[in-house]
């Protein structure tokens, strides 16, 4: 059983009397810790696919299972809990709350979980340090650049170490240099904590950060292959082992850190 199982997923929009097939019977399995890029032009259905994986939109047909739980049949209430426990979300337009500073924005998912302000703010500060924003802790979103805002967004998505992180065109509003910075950070952090990252983009340059690229055209999977550009197939096994070892060390590290905090 895979970590994410998409089975025969179909989405049909109705515009007036016309039916528009946004997704046409997509089936896909994604493993834990995988960084998967959904690549497609605008209108290809890639965003719809992401929305349905995250449970933001109802499917017309088919199922999505994450960690053995069927997302497609959850009620609003179950979805809220599911999002708290399982998912993180990085938005194209950052979507930071304007009235809150960086720490408060990052701590927000923990606030929804009911974590005490002292604990969650501490963890938020740590996350902000991890994305290199230790000097911007108490800045409001309007006082930060786009790249900085998106780094806050990343810290927010990852603060509760959700097993799945969704990123919807995370660099769509950023310039090339910042894009590289932001992507490095996301990928590094997801690998560090062995989080599954589902990355939606139209940009081939972004896709190269992924382990696997799924190309969607007109609501159908056109191609699905491992990303050869970064990891040559023959070397992959070795790095995988290395990565697992490295991750084990990191996990131990973070657990120790967290024990210290409490």
């Amino acid at each position: 059983m895979s970590f994410i199982e998409v089975d025969n997923l179909r989405k049909v929009y109705r515009i007036g009397n016309e039916k528009v097939i946004a997704l046409d019977s997509i089936s896909l399995n994604i493993e834990k810790g995988e960084i998967c890029c959904i690549l497609g032009t605008s209108g290809s259905g890639k965003s719809t696919f992401l929305n349905m994986l995250a449970g933001l939109e109802k499917a017309t047909k088919g199922t999505v299972k994450i960690n053995g739980r069927e997302v497609t049949s959850m009620t609003e209430k179950e979805l809220a809990e599911f999002r708290q426990e399982t998912t993180g979300f990085i938005f194209q337009s950052y979507n930071l709350l304007a009235s809150m500073n960086a720490v408060e924005n990052v701590a927000m998912p923990l606030m929804f979980k009911g974590v005490h302000p002292l604990i969650r703010n501490n963890r938020a500060k740590k996350m902000l340090r991890a994305v290199g924003l230790e000097k911007r802790l108490y800045h409001k979103p309007t006082q930060m650049s786009g790249g900085q805002q998106q780094r806050v967004g990343i810290a927010r998505a990852l603060i509760s170490k959700p097993p799945v992180v969704f990123a919807d065109e995370p660099t769509g509003n950023l310039d090339t240099k910042t894009t590289a910075e932001v992507m490095e950070i996301v990928v590094r952090m997801c690998r560090k904590h062995n989080l599954t990252l589902i990355l939606v983009t139209h940009d081939n340059d972004i896709a190269k950060y992924a382990d696997r690229i799924v190309h969607i055209v007109d609501g159908k999977i056109e191609s699905d292959y491992p990303n050869v550009s970064i990891v040559p197939p023959e070397e992959k096994k070795l790095t995988e082992t290395e990565r697992i070892l490295e991750n084990l060390n990191k996990i131990n590290d973070t657990e120790e850190n967290e024990n210290e905090n409490q």
């Binding site: 933001l56 209430k77 938005f91 337009s93 979507n95 927000m108 929804f112 927010r156």
Partner: protein, 462 residues
């Protein structure tokens, strides 16, 4: 989500739009202030009405008269001791005050050395002295002793003026008269200082040796020396006219006087002494009507301030309802203002709400945030409204009666003014609860709208 965080989020979003929040709160301030002031004016009128009614008699008291022809056909009811006992057991009756009148034909009263001063006329009343104060009798001097013995007597305010001087042939009577220096003329003696002698008459003769004349007894049957323990304050005794010139002794002693009179004058088939009047104290003004009905059903003629109170209350009630209704309209407008503000704010925050949903905020928490925002507007508006009402109420009480030409209603003879506007503590609490409730109620629809916003709103890119 922790409740403090929810409140914090609500405050933050209220604070972000300070001017708009302030204007919305202002609506509630005006609305709640209008209601509080209107109700306080009504309470002030109520208070004034009750004040005037108590000038005529205690509102809790029902007076039952014996021997009154109620319908001109049935034999009038007498107040017997048996019925008094029964009335005592009626629900909500807190105390009873029967009055047994012994007239001057039966009993003589003298005062001073050698019985120099003699009472010309007036009755002696047998009462339960321990209830005097409950039934509105106030004392000018002295008080009711804890144990009221048969030797004790209480004088009405001007009872001492009813005595004439037996040693003088002329100018032997006196009456209360204002003197040149403004004080009242004194009676011949101070009852508190002289010994009072009461005796039952034995074969009477009417003698006219003063301007009123009096009954002269051939002999003294059952002579009793008494001490005056108090003088009543007639003007403040709430319409109890006997406080002017009556004499009060204990019921037992009055019974004894009656019995000895019957015995001394050898009256055959004497009836038991008759209670001329019975006062009943009802525990609550609102129960007076039902108690009165029960006593009237026994066939007695009753009198109380109830009918007067009810008709006045009815008139005031409709006036108060009108004032309250006017005020309620302004609070209703304020409520619409809250709803409007909240809907506006939800339009603005659609994306934010979507983001919160995507980040795992529970629907319940989103609803709570908006309800708390609305409740805050209501509550803060309520507090400010109540404070403002206190100021307005103060101004009304200080200057209102002359400004509105209501002096005849609120100004008392001694120069003090009754409050035009009264804000009791319960009104403050009710106003705060009500304005908060109005806030929550008007936040209900917007909160439900907020809850229905799709998480997809967060994804949309403008």
């Amino acid at each position: 989500m922790r409740i403090l965080d929810i409140i914090g989020m609500s405050f933050k979003s209220l604070w972000r739009r300070k001017v708009r929040t302030l204007l919305t709160v202002l609506g509630v301030v005006i609305g709640s202030c209008a209601i509080v002031v209107m109700i306080s004016l009504g309470l002030g009128m109520d208070n004034a009405m009750k004040y005037y009614l108590t000038q005529f008699g205690d509102l809790n008291v029902i007076t039952v008269y014996g021997n009154v022809w109620t319908d001109g056909q049935t034999e009038p009811m007498k107040i017997t001791e048996e019925n008094v006992e029964y009335i005592k057991t009626i629900e909500n009756v807190e105390g009873i005050f029967p009055k047994l009148a012994i007239n001057s034909e039966m009993v003589s009263v003298c005062a001073g050395r050698g019985e120099r001063y003699r009472r010309m006329y007036g009755e002696i009343y047998g009462v339960y002295p321990e209830y005097l104060e409950k039934f509105g009798y106030k004392f000018k001097e002295g008080e009711v002793p804890e144990i009221f013995s048969q030797n004790f007597i209480i004088f009405g305010e001007q009872s001492a003026y009813n005595f004439f001087d037996t040693k003088k042939k002329r100018n032997n009577t006196t009456y209360p008269q204002e003197q040149e220096d403004g004080t009242m003329s004194d009676p011949f003696f101070n009852p508190m200082e002289e010994q009072i002698l009461v005796y039952v008459n034995n074969t009477n003769k009417f003698v006219e040796d003063n301007m009123w004349g009096h009954y002269e007894s051939a002999g003294k049957a059952y002579e009793h020396k008494m001490t005056c323990v108090g003088i009543l304050d007639a003007e403040n005794s709430g319409g109890n006219w006997e406080a002017f010139d009556g004499l009060f002794v204990s019921m037992d002693f009055a019974d004894e006087l009656y019995d000895s009179y019957v015995k001394a004058n050898k009256i055959k088939d004497a009836k038991p002494p008759e209670i001329s009047e019975l006062k009943i104290y009802v525990n609550d003004i609102n129960n007076v009507a039902t108690v009165q009905e029960q006593i009237e059903a026994m066939g007695y003629y009753c009198d109380s301030m109830e009918s007067a109170r009810q008709s006045m209350q009815g008139q005031l009630g409709s006036l108060e309802a009108m004032l309250g209704g006017l005020a309620a309209i302004s609070l209703f407008v304020a409520a619409i203002g809250i709803t409007n503000t909240m809907i506006m704010s939800i339009y603005e925050r659609t994306r934010e709400i979507g983001v919160m949903k995507v980040l795992g905020c529970k629907i319940k928490n989103i609803r709570e945030m908006f309800l708390i925002e609305a409740a805050c507007i209501g509550f803060v508006g309520g507090i400010a409204g109540v404070l403002l009402s206190f100021i307005i109420s103060f101004i009304f009480n200080k200057f209102g009666s002359s400004m509105l030409g209501l002096d005849y209603m609120y100004q008392l003879n001694d120069g003090t003014t009754l409050p035009i506007s009264l804000i009791p503590f319960w009104l403050v609490i009710v106003a705060l609860l009500f304005s908060t409730f109005v806030g929550i109620a008007s936040g209900f629809y917007p909160a439900n709208r907020a809850v229905k916003i799709s998480a997809l709103e967060a994804i949309k890119n403008e």
